[in-house]
């Protein structure tokens, strides 16, 4: 829709702004064509104003300097068309009233007028009422406002609000929707205006209580409330139409942001309750899953490998055991030979009795082990007698005789692994 482009910007269309300017100038106009219909006219004045503002000099500017400075904003032809009119009407003044003077200055009133036109373009005069309220409040606080001046201010604001409210109600009730759309950016401060009016009336009541009793303050608040309600009626019709046509450009981006921040999910869902959506979907092939699993799977627990066999020695453990057993047998046989002293028989009783308990035990044990080992050619005889010597190193001894026996041939296996009985 064509109006949509204007909705998110505060600017009015050129034709509509021309109507606004005509209505603005009408009180002092001499003819109906007092306001130029070409929107470029205003742009030339704004360019001239900008040129003076940017020049930085205090000696004014020549016509050619001005034309050059405005060339970025407007065409040379447009500038030339407007220049003489600006001089004639006093927007541009000669720097000195001399015929040869070619330097010009801009009139400060024209600068103010451009600011007013700019505000008209954006706010259609509602901001002026706000300023009037602010100024009255400020003067009241400063104590410079007389009762009469205050009444005059309040009356002026009340009348203006009444006109604004009537205008809005006229639009809301009788005019095509497109006109409402064009006007809708002008009345977004209704709540603020109502608050300012109430605040001014409250402050006025404190300073001049009779204003409240006379109803002057109440009438201002009533009119502000009427304007507020008119704005609501105006927007209700706008939004009803926008809702029916699902036009999301009806509200400003700030209003959507505010709604997103402060409204509940249910409230936000209402406008889309009858809208059909595709369900949420996602393209997710199976191979993507497997890739993710492979990439992010936990590392397998680390296990210490078994210690490798000691390869530094190539000795056969069985052979080593046989060797140790053989060494042991040789030692034991040598001990038995020591007891026999080369003879065939030896009585070990006296040696046992003199060796103390520890030595006695070793002699008896070795002799019995040698007796049990078929590889050692000795036998042991134990007597049935018991020698008791309470004062000796060994108090109780059984007489023991060691004898040499004929050598026996012993197989290696028997010699190595024969289990030696304990004594």
């Amino acid at each position: 829709m064509e109006y949509s482009a204007d909705l998110l910007t505060a600017n009015q269309s050129p034709a509509r702004f021309h109507d606004t300017l005509k209505a603005f100038v009408a009180p002092v106009a001499k003819a109906t064509d007092a306001v130029a219909s070409d929107p470029v006219a205003l742009r030339v004045a704004q360019a001239v104003c900008a040129a003076f503002g940017d020049s930085g000099g205090s000696n004014g500017m020549t016509r050619s300097e001005l034309a050059a400075a405005c060339s970025n904003a407007v065409s040379v032809a447009a500038f030339e068309r407007r220049f003489d009119l600006f001089v004639e009407m006093g927007l541009l003044r000669r720097y000195a009233e001399k015929p040869h003077q070619q330097r010009y200055m801009i009139h400060p009133v024209s600068v103010t007028a451009l600011l007013v036109y700019g505000r008209l373009e954006e706010t259609n005069g509602v901001e002026e009422i706000m300023l009037l309220l602010d100024r009255a409040h400020r003067d009241l606080d400063a104590g410079t406002m007389t009762r009469e001046a205050l009444i005059e201010q309040i009356t002026t604001v009340k009348r203006n609000l009444s006109i604004m409210a009537d205008h809005l109600l006229y639009l809301a009730e009788d005019r095509p929707w497109e006109e409402l759309v064009a006007e809708q950016s002008q009345h977004r401060s209704a709540k603020a205006l109502l608050d300012k009016a109430s605040s001014l009336v409250g402050a006025a009541g404190e300073r001049f209580p009779e204003l409240l009793s006379s109803g002057t303050g109440r009438r201002l608040v009533d009119e502000a409330l009427r304007y507020f309600n008119a704005v609501n009626a105006f927007y209700s019709r706008l939004l009803a139409q926008a809702s029916a046509s699902r036009d999301f450009s009806m509200l400003s981006p700030e209003q959507y942001l505010s709604a997103a921040s402060y409204r509940s999910r249910g409230e936000l869902a209402v406008p889309l309750a009858r809208t059909v959506f595709d369900p949420a979907s996602m393209l997710l092939p199976a191979e993507r899953l497997v890739s993710a699993v492979e990439k992010y799977r936990p590392a397998p627990p680390r296990r210490r490998p078994p210690r490798p066999p000691d390869s530094s020695s190539d000795q056969d453990p069985v052979a080593a055991a046989r060797e140790r057993e053989q060494t042991k047998r040789v030692v034991m046989e040598a001990e038995m030979e020591l007891h026999l002293q080369g003879g065939d028989e030896a009585d070990l009783t006296s040696r046992i009795r003199g060796a103390g308990w520890r030595g006695a035990a070793r002699i008896v044990t070795d002799a019995l082990l040698a007796n049990a080992d078929p590889g050692i050619p000795v036998t042991v005889d134990l007597s049935d007698a018991l020698i008791v010597d309470a004062a000796g190193p060994v108090s109780h001894v059984t007489p023991m005789t060691l004898r040499r026996s004929p050598a026996a041939s012993v197989r290696d296996d028997d010699a190595t692994f024969a289990e030696a009985p304990r004594a």
Binding site: P279, M282, R288, A292, V293, P298
Partner: protein, 188 residues
């Protein structure tokens, strides 16, 4: 004559009941074929069956939708891992069909994921934080139909979008079934 409205309804609802009348079913199939789509018979819990709109076997959805194979919107590693864990837990027998699978408690899926950590995640990221991400992924998978929307029992159930996978996809998963995240002690 093909009627586009049932097709639009199926697209918006994702699943529709199988029509009782054979003529109606045939018309629906004809409409889908005309639109370059196919009907997929989706098995639900307790033997329930429904129809879903899918792509013909010889059509690559990613090519049709202009998706880049490397950058699939929403298919984040976390989402992929969570769906792999859901399948690993809900599909204990790879010889059985993928759907409808076995409903499992959400905790079982979360526990199966406990040992999976994305590289680059800070060491300080607690299990609770990771679980929050996984639960978020579960909600996303439910919204996209890969899991059934949450029911009163809060169990995880495999969703109809998995029925859109072709035979090659399912075979690929079956081959790698032992690698899917699942609880230790659960059958692989």
């Amino acid at each position: 004559m093909p009627d586009p409205l049932p097709l639009a309804r199926m697209r918006a609802l994702r699943l529709v009941a199988v029509p009782w009348a054979e003529e109606e079913l045939a018309l629906l199939q004809e409409t889908a074929t005309t639109a370059g789509r196919r009907l997929i018979d989706v098995a639900g819990d307790h033997g329930a069956r429904a129809l879903m709109l899918g792509w013909p076997a010889d059509v690559d959805p990613m090519a049709v939708l202009g998706a880049d194979g490397e950058d699939l919107p929403g298919a984040t590693p976390t989402t992929c891992l969570v769906l792999a864990a859901c399948i690993g837990c809900c599909w204990p027998d790879p010889d059985a069909p993928l759907l409808p699978g076995k409903p499992v408690p959400e905790n079982q899926v979360l526990d199966a994921l406990a040992s999976f950590t994305r590289p680059g995640r800070p060491v300080s990221e607690s299990l609770r934080t990771r679980q929050a991400h996984w639960k978020s992924a579960i909600r996303r998978l439910r919204a996209c139909g890969f899991l059934v929307p949450e029911e009163e029992d809060s169990l995880i159930r495999l969703g109809p979008a998995l029925a859109g996978w072709g035979d090659a996809d399912v075979r690929h998963l079956r081959d790698r079934h032992a690698d899917l995240p699942r609880l230790v002690g659960e059958p692989a």
